[in-house]
């Protein structure tokens, strides 16, 4: 059995990132789904950028933006005494940027699929926009919401390039599972690589099966 530290660290990173991103993405996705602003395509493009950009571009810019000499990095150092690069907090920042579209896009699609029909109906039943969002749109978007969270969680677990560049490979701090596997392979410690990879494979498969079985029954219930 290999060291499970990287696995736990990855799970922790993915969980924190998913929660923070959900909070950020709900209003953003709702705005994108309903706005008629001419800036919508621009906002959509910016949101989708992390999908298209190589992780090394993101990693490079983060390395520049978060380093202790740069304003953000310096501010963080003055606040916490720790640097953002080579720290868990830095990885969270990187993951939020990196996984943003994985949260926003499924939510936006789900909201768009709900459409304005139910929102209008809710307004006619004296529900405010927020009320309608929470009690009509969100419940009707459950599938998209679950998908968004799972994708975000999973994509963060799988994150490699950004972490490689801004993480510094510190055990129990930034040495996430993808980095550990990479190292094992490069070191030709194939036994350890096999253990970790097989573990990830089984974990991933089980998580996904759970989601899809859930989605199936969920879908049947709502017709």
């Amino acid at each position: 059995m290999p060291d499970l530290g990287p696995v736990l660290l990855s799970l922790q990173l993915a969980a924190v990132t998913t929660v923070l991103l959900l909070v950020l993405a709900l209003p953003l996705a709702w705005w994108l789904a309903t706005t008629r602003s001419v800036f919508k395509p621009v906002a959509e493009a910016v949101t989708a950028l992390p999908l298209v950009l190589p992780p090394t571009v993101i990693g490079f810019y983060l390395l520049i933006a978060l380093n202790p000499q740069a304003p953000i990095g310096a501010f963080w150092v003055s606040m916490t005494g720790d640097t953002l690069t080579f720290s868990f907090a830095g990885l969270v920042v990187g993951s939020i940027v990196y996984s943003l579209p994985f949260m926003v896009q499924p939510l936006q699609s789900a909201f768009e699929n709900v459409g304005k029909g139910p929102v209008e109906a809710a307004a006619m039943l004296r529900a405010s926009k927020l009320d309608a969002f929470c009690n009509v749109v969100l419940p009707q978007s459950m599938r998209g919401l679950i998908t968004a969270c799972v994708l975000t969680f999973a994509h963060t677990i799988g994150e490699f390039g950004v972490v490689l560049m801004i993480g510094g490979n510190i055990p129990e701090r930034t040495r996430v599972v993808s980095i550990a596997i990479f190292e094992h392979v490069e070191e030709q410690s194939y036994a350890e690589a096999h253990w970790l990879s097989a573990g990830m494979l089984v974990f991933a498969f089980l998580v996904l099966i759970a989601v899809y079985v859930l989605n199936r029954s969920w879908r049947v219930r709502t017709g």
């Binding site: 029909g117 139910p118 209008e120 109906a121 809710a122 307004a123 006619m124 039943l125 004296r126 529900a127 405010s128 926009k129 009320d131 309608a132 009690n135 009509v136 419940p139 009707q140 459950m142 219930r221 709502t222 017709g223």
Partner: protein, 365 residues
């Protein structure tokens, strides 16, 4: 009565693609106003603008003392604050909730205002008791629309916007809901705009009628006046026209299953409706096609409602095979549509005394 404090002022211009809806009307806020017109005439567009779901390009919408919309002052009250209850053509039920959940959604947010509309009454009237625990997915078309109707009523609206609520219902269901729809505005003082392209529905439910044609108002006024003066036939390619007459309830004969009325001294009988108290004045809608005329009182005939009157006007048109005869009966008028062949044979002239035979008529409110 229809002072600004108790009326809905609609002065607006709305554009949807090539279509323009232009309106400058004040609608009295009591009873039911039918919004009548053929498909594509702008009925739905008008209701959406009133509800706040679409914004007119220009204009004002004032409900009683509340300005709901005004392009001049850039006011636009949020749709959910207007308190309009909208029954959509396509039900729009919430698929994630059960039937009961859909009803509770409205019920909760209405604050049960006055509790004048009881949850149980609505459920019973819309025949939903057995469906309450059902999911929306498995409902048939008719079932869906009954749920939507109940849900809208439970939102206890200040103004009902009914967009063809009876379309898609079978007659049984329509009959079940019709009396409820008819009673709601009066019982709870909720005025309603009722979109329909069915003149029978309109006459059964509305006091007033606003006729739209190609985005313009073709007529607006009391139902009786409009039906009397406007031949809706050519406008609607519908052929239906009729009259409203007033009569007084004189009693009920449960054995024979009739309600007896008096119309300017002539006794009338209609299918029994014991809810009508004796002495009450009711309006009757008589389809012009259901009225026959006779020059002498016919004897030994099963038609029991035979009203003596005098011909006021004869409207004929060479392009149509019928003529409309307006007959003065007491203080009211009755429109009879007879063939031109009969007109010639009976040699009817204005001022002539005739008997109007009415086999079918219905209570209009």
């Amino acid at each position: 009565m229809s002072g600004p404090a108790n009326s809905l002022t609609l002065s607006l211009l709305l554009e949807r693609g090539d279509f323009r809806l232009r309106l400058d009307e004040t609608i009295a806020l009591d009873g039911v106003t039918a919004v009548f017109g053929r498909s594509g005439s702008g009925k739905t567009s008008l209701l959406r603008a009133i509800a706040g779901l679409d914004r007119p390009a220009q204009g004002r919408i004032v409900f009683g003392d509340d300005v709901w919309f005004d392009t001049d002052t850039r006011q636009s009250m949020k749709p959910h604050r207007r308190g309009a209850g909208y029954l959509f053509q396509d039900a729009r039920l919430f698929g994630h909730l059960s039937v009961a959940g859909n009803l509770a959604f409205a019920d909760k947010r209405s604050g049960h205002q006055g509790d004048a509309i009881a949850f149980e009454d609505v459920v019973a009237a819309t025949g939903l008791s057995d469906l309450l625990s059902r999911n929306i997915g498995g409902l048939s078309g008719g079932e869906r629309q009954r749920v939507a109707l109940a849900r809208t009523l439970l939102a206890r609206p200040r103004l009902l916007l009914l967009d063809e609520p009876l379309t898609g219902l079978d007659r049984a269901a329509k009959r079940e809901i019709m009396p409820y729809l008819r009673d709601v505005p009066a019982r709870f003082g909720i005025p309603a705009l009722f979109v329909s392209h069915d003149i029978e529905e309109v006459t059964a439910l509305a006091n007033r009628i606003l006729v739209l044609d190609g985005g313009r108002v073709a007529a607006h006024g009391a139902l009786g006046d409009v039906l009397q003066t406007l031949d809706l036939g050519p406008l609607l390619a519908d052929g239906t026209t009729g009259s409203l007459i007033e009569a007084t309830v004189t009693g009920h004969d449960a054995a024979l299953g009739v309600t007896q009325l008096d119309l300017a001294g002539t006794p009338l009988s209609l299918p029994l409706d014991e809810r009508l108290e004796t002495g009450r004045t009711v309006r009757l809608f008589v389809d012009a096609s259901d009225v026959a005329l006779a020059t002498a009182r016919p004897e030994g005939i099963s038609i029991r409602n035979i009203l003596p009157g005098q011909i006021k006007a004869i409207e004929k048109n060479a392009s149509r095979p019928y003529a409309d005869i307006v007959v003065t009966i007491g203080k009211g008028q009755l429109r009879a549509r007879i063939t031109r062949a009969s007109l010639a044979e009976l040699a009817l002239t204005e001022g002539m005394e005739v008997f109007a035979l009415v086999k079918t008529m219905s209570f209009a409110d």
